[in-house]
């Protein structure tokens, strides 16, 4: 039996602390299980979010939103105190996050909202394995 997950939105709000990274990874793991993402896609996405959280100036509370589309999953994280993709915001003590993310996810985009910067990461879902949830039992 299969069930469409397209259009679903899952959100998680958690303390803006780096120790939240473990929870974020579990969130992505659960999402991967729900959507049938491959292990490698899941791992890349976890590393991408981990890198964002390690680099970004976190607010006391951050939200991670997953929006499931036809052929992609978008994860939006924020609010961040500044845009981590902006070259002038990249502290030279850090790795080039934009370059790192470009190898890990299909698309990145940062937008400014009233409460700060939000970063969106898109992961393409291979046909037949992503946005249709398979339930074998």
């Amino acid at each position: 039996m299969s069930e469409s997950a397209v259009g679903e939105r899952v959100a998680l709000t958690l303390p803006g602390e780096r120790r939240s990274i473990g929870i974020v990874r579990l969130f992505v793991g659960g999402l991967a299980a729900r959507l049938g993402l491959g292990y490698e896609t899941m791992d890349d996405l976890q590393l991408a979010l981990e890198s964002v959280l390690l680099k970004a100036e976190l607010r006391p509370e951050i939200t991670l939103e997953a929006t499931i589309g036809e052929d992609a999953v978008s994860l939006t994280v924020g609010p961040l105190s500044r845009d981590p993709l902006q070259p002038d915001a990249a502290g030279p003590n850090e790795l080039d996050l934009g370059h790192l993310l470009s190898a890990l996810v299909a698309r990145t985009e940062s937008t400014t909202r009233d409460d700060g910067c939000w970063l969106r990461l898109d992961v393409l879902v291979p046909a037949g394995s992503g946005t249709r949830v398979s339930q074998s039992s």
Partner: protein
């Protein structure tokens, strides 16, 4: 009583070792700086690892610092050695200490998943899903997610987290570091500096993944190691690069 050589003497020893291959100079440097390595190791005691083991790990970090030190940077050796030793201890916790905290069933499942990911990737010619791994392992999907997470979440998080209430870890991480020093060096140079800090295999993996665009599976096949091992090595390499870049800032400040 201090056994540490002064800066001039230390530089002479470093020069003798690096330029003339004088092993006795290297031995003297190790001996003179062992109290530093022990002091750092003691700060990490009581986190589930024996002090003797931590001293051994710290000593390895010290030797790496001696071997990698670049005299042309013109900085005091200890400025370079402290973060290198701390980094070695952190890597030890990340790679080894999880076995202390993670329940045996998760540890065993994690090891099983490592093999299954490899086998199923070859069989399916793509990365397996969580459901496929769960079915092959005969467990629930949630257990798969939990086991995959268990191999890297526990100790790494506690060590990477910003210290609270002035913990020892925070003081160690910032020992000798003047963070305002970073502005003078360009990102690209620092990235190169970060890469230089990696061991050859880690550097190759980072280049394959982030410059050549190979997937973890492709890298695993190329190097003959498991995909999960590639994942761990990528994380470890990125952490090493971060540490090295922080250290580059220290060096720039002292020039």
């Amino acid at each position: 009583m201090s056994v540490s050589p002064d800066k001039l003497e230390e530089n002479e020893l470093l020069r003798a070792y690096h330029e003339r291959g004088d092993q006795s100079a290297r031995d003297k440097l190790v001996e003179a700086n062992l109290p530093l390595a022990r002091a750092i190791a003691r700060r990490y005691a009581g986190r589930g690892e024996q002090l003797d083991d931590l001293v051994q790990v710290a000593s390895i970090g010290l030797i790496k610092a001696i071997d990698r030190f670049d005299l042309e940077r013109g900085v005091y050796f200890r400025t370079y050695a402290v973060p290198t030793i701390v980094g070695e201890i952190k890597r030890h916790f990340r790679d080894r200490a999880w076995a202390v905290h993670v329940p045996r069933r998760l540890k065993e499942l994690n090891q099983m998943l490592s093999s299954l990911i490899q086998d199923l990737s070859a069989q399916l010619e793509r990365s397996p899903t969580i459901a496929e791994l769960a079915e092959a392992a005969g467990v629930e999907e949630e257990e798969v997610v939990e086991a995959l997470e268990s191999s890297r979440a526990y100790t790494a998080e506690s060590l990477m987290a910003p210290a609270e209430e002035g913990s020892d870890l925070d003081r160690l991480q910032t020992l000798g570091v003047v963070e305002e020093a970073f502005e003078r060096t360009e990102d690209r140079q620092l990235l190169a500096t970060g890469l230089q800090a990696l061991e050859p295999r880690e550097r190759r993996i980072i280049q394959l993944r982030f410059q050549d665009g190979l997937t973890q599976t492709q890298i695993a096949n190329e190097l003959g190691i498991s995909q999960m091992h590639v994942s761990r090595l990528i994380r470890r390499a990125l952490e090493t690069m971060r540490e090295e870049l922080e250290q580059g800032g220290v060096d720039a400040d002292e020039r």
